[in-house]
């Protein structure tokens, strides 16, 4: 289906972008923003924006989109998400240093602080694995990258879900569902990429110096 209609690849991307714009707009226009100081709004909305980008990010790693958009787009958005998470912590720290210091030291009374930290740890881990490009076998690198990114996204979603703030419960639920679907698509694509490499024997012959197994072996 995709081979015949390559434009179908853009459908999930466009849906994810529309969801991101709608979710960010509802949070930014929430009545709760009235009366908040600029640095508080900046810190809070940085986190919201990072979350809104989650469903888009896995799709940008699909081989078909990489070819059309360029290989740099997926790493660039990954860097942006981590940058926004750091801006989220920094902005809120500038507004209420004691609250954020408690959170960073795992001393906060709020249950979602540790989820937020684990989320960032997962995402940074995923980025580090991606940076180790040449040191790891592709199958292991892709699996680890997806595992850490998925774990990080799950923790960040739990963080957001438990917070009472500018985001609506509906937009949090939709973003979580969309992220799950995107990750599912990316995992499927990664599996067929790895399988194709094995069948071509690229991996086995280069890494182990012996011929590849029978075609179709996993």
């Amino acid at each position: 289906m995709l081979r015949k209609n390559p434009w179908l690849l853009w459908v999930p991307v466009i849906l994810a972008v529309l969801l991101a714009v709608a979710s960010f707009a509802t949070a930014a226009l929430s009545p709760l923003q009235q009366g908040r100081e600029a640095i508080w709004i900046f810190g809070a909305l940085s986190g919201v924006l990072a979350l809104c980008l989650f469903p888009i990010q896995p799709l940008l790693a699909l081989p078909g989109l990489r070819r059309r958009l360029g290989n740099w787009v997926h790493p660039a958005l990954g860097g942006t998400i981590i940058g926004l998470s750091v801006a989220h912590i920094t902005g809120l720290w500038l507004y209420s240093p004691e609250d954020i210091t408690d959170a960073l030291l795992l001393q906060a009374p709020t249950p979602f602080s540790a989820w937020g930290l684990s989320g960032l740890a997962g995402l940074v881990g995923a980025a580090l694995i991606a940076l180790l490009r040449r040191r790891l076998r592709p199958a292991i690198r892709i699996a680890l990258h997806l595992f850490l990114a998925g774990l990080g996204a799950f923790a960040a979603m739990m963080h957001a879900w438990l917070i009472l703030g500018a985001m609506s419960a509906a937009s949090k639920a939709l973003l979580a569902l969309a992220t799950l679907l995107s990750l599912g698509i990316a995992i499927q694509a990664a599996r067929s990429t790895i399988r194709a490499r094995r069948e071509r024997g690229v991996e086995s012959s280069r890494r182990r110096g012996r011929p590849a197994g029978p075609p179709g072996a996993r």
């Binding site: 908040r36 209420s96 004691e98 609250d99 009374p109 703030g165």
Partner: protein, 164 residues
């Protein structure tokens, strides 16, 4: 099967004897009035110098009774400092900080305007930090039903010192 009935009877008897003992322990605890403990994050965004105010807005009310540890006696004239994020801004906003005194029955009342979430939770801060008592910093979180206000009673431990 035969063992079940005697076991149940024994358990029922035990429960019967345990219940009054438990109730007695609870009454004892109430009579002792143990000092309330400071909560995590209770001191965050604290301001030492706050004015005595009639209210911090209208529409929502924090109130409660302040008692002395041990004796359980209501404490009059205690300065209770309160702050919270409201529709005027966050906890850093000076207009969201104020203090009130407890009356002869140890009661304090502080009307607020709409409480807003800050740091992801709807909560207020309550502090007592005068020389006569061990400092206490509370951070009660509003329950879903607390739309009109909330009651926060607490117990202070005297230091034996007097106000200078």
């Amino acid at each position: 099967m035969r063992a079940i009935l005697p076991t149940m009877i024994a358990l029922a008897l035990l429960a019967g004897f345990e219940a009054p003992a438990l109730a007695q322990a609870q009454t004892q605890a109430q009579a002792d009035c143990p000092a309330t403990e400071t909560m995590r994050g209770g001191r965050n965004n604290y301001r030492a110098e706050v004015p005595l105010v009639d209210n911090l807005g209208i529409g929502w009310t924090a109130s409660g009774t302040v008692r002395e540890a041990g004796s359980c006696a209501p404490l009059a004239g205690v300065t209770v400092k309160l702050w919270s994020a409201t529709d005027r801004g966050g906890e850093r906003d000076p207009s969201n900080h104020g203090a009130t005194l407890t009356d002869a029955e140890g009661r304090y009342v502080m009307p607020f305007s709409e409480i807003r979430p800050m740091g992801g939770q709807l909560h207020i801060h309550i502090a007592v930090d005068q020389p006569e008592y061990e400092p206490l910093f509370l951070r009660p979180v509003l329950a879903p039903g607390d739309t009109e206000g909330m009651v926060v009673d607490f117990v202070l431990k005297p230091t034996g010192r007097n106000a200078s």
